[in-house]
């Protein structure tokens, strides 16, 4: 399925998903979101960064779900770019209707970190300029 997504063969990826047995509902939704996100050209996650991104700690989504992935990936767009942090990664943010701020770090074309702030931070704070 991942190979089909990488090859941009989304119909094939959906076929594999249909055929996949033993997937939980959460896993199925996550794969559907992965296909949809790739189809829409959203910036992907770096696979090995996922255990750091999704964890039950302050500022992070506790679980790796389709909804959490969508919130983070949909934040990465020109309109939400805060700027380039001095160490060379891009910082994105957006405020949801609930008032919660989604924050995302992108480096080398992949999402490397992200989560949410109950109390939104300013652009200067997000760029670590105090």
């Amino acid at each position: 399925m991942l190979a089909a997504i990488a090859a941009r063969d989304y119909d094939q990826a959906r076929e594999y998903l249909k055929l996949a047995a033993n997937l939980t509902e959460d896993e199925r939704e996550r794969f559907e979101q992965m296909i949809s996100a790739a189809e829409r050209g959203l910036v992907p996650f770096l696979e090995r960064a996922l255990p750091h991104i999704f964890k039950p700690d302050p500022g992070h989504f506790a679980r790796d779900t389709a909804e959490a992935r969508e919130l983070l990936q949909a934040t990465v767009g020109e309109a939400n770019l805060v700027g380039l942090q001095k160490q060379g990664f891009s910082v994105y943010q957006r405020i949801l209707d609930t008032g919660v701020q989604i924050w995302v770090y992108v480096f080398n074309g992949t999402i490397r970190d992200g989560g949410y702030n109950e109390v939104p931070r300013t652009a200067a704070q997000l760029l670590h300029q105090g």
């Binding site: 700690d57 060379g88 990664f89 770090y105």
Partner: protein, 145 residues
């Protein structure tokens, strides 16, 4: 050298990491980690969870027990739960803190190289002799600020 409270010690960690990154100013895995660890006065760490990871490692230096990651338990740690740290204790806590992140994100070589240079032998110090003076400078900055 007086001991440091958990927040002072963390500010020294952030300053030290930044000074290491400034030596090369190369965007990459280590720079990304340094960015996540940045300390914003009055706000906390750039990645909010980094503060709690730090507290877990700083606490471990005294108690010998690490509050496990990804259990939701670290979020209840406070700086008051961590006893003051001597420079060597803070250094060892920092090493564990960095090493844990390195393990979680698939052991990128760039951070592995930094850890090799930082590896600490009691009585001798870090493998790279330039590391300890940089650490003490970072502590001085915090203490005299």
């Amino acid at each position: 050298m007086k001991s440091l409270d958990a927040q002072q010690a963390y500010r020294a960690v952030a300053s030290f990491l930044d000074s290491l990154w400034e030596r090369t100013r190369q965007p990459g895995e280590f720079g990304l980690f340094c960015g996540m660890c940045s300390y914003i006065p009055g706000v906390g760490t750039a990645d909010p969870a980094m503060w709690y990871d730090w507290l877990a490692w700083a606490r471990k230096v005294h108690t010998g027990e690490l509050v496990p990651r990804a259990t939701g338990r670290r979020g209840s740690l406070t700086s008051e739960t961590v006893a003051p740290l001597e420079p060597e204790q803070a250094y060892l806590a920092m090493f564990g803190f960095i090493e844990e992140y390195w393990n979680v994100v698939g052991r990128p070589a760039e951070i592995g190289d930094v850890l090799e240079r930082m590896r600490y032998t009691p009585g001798t110090g870090p493998a790279d002799p330039s590391i300890w003076p940089a650490w003490m400078t970072s502590i001085d900055k915090v203490v005299t600020a």
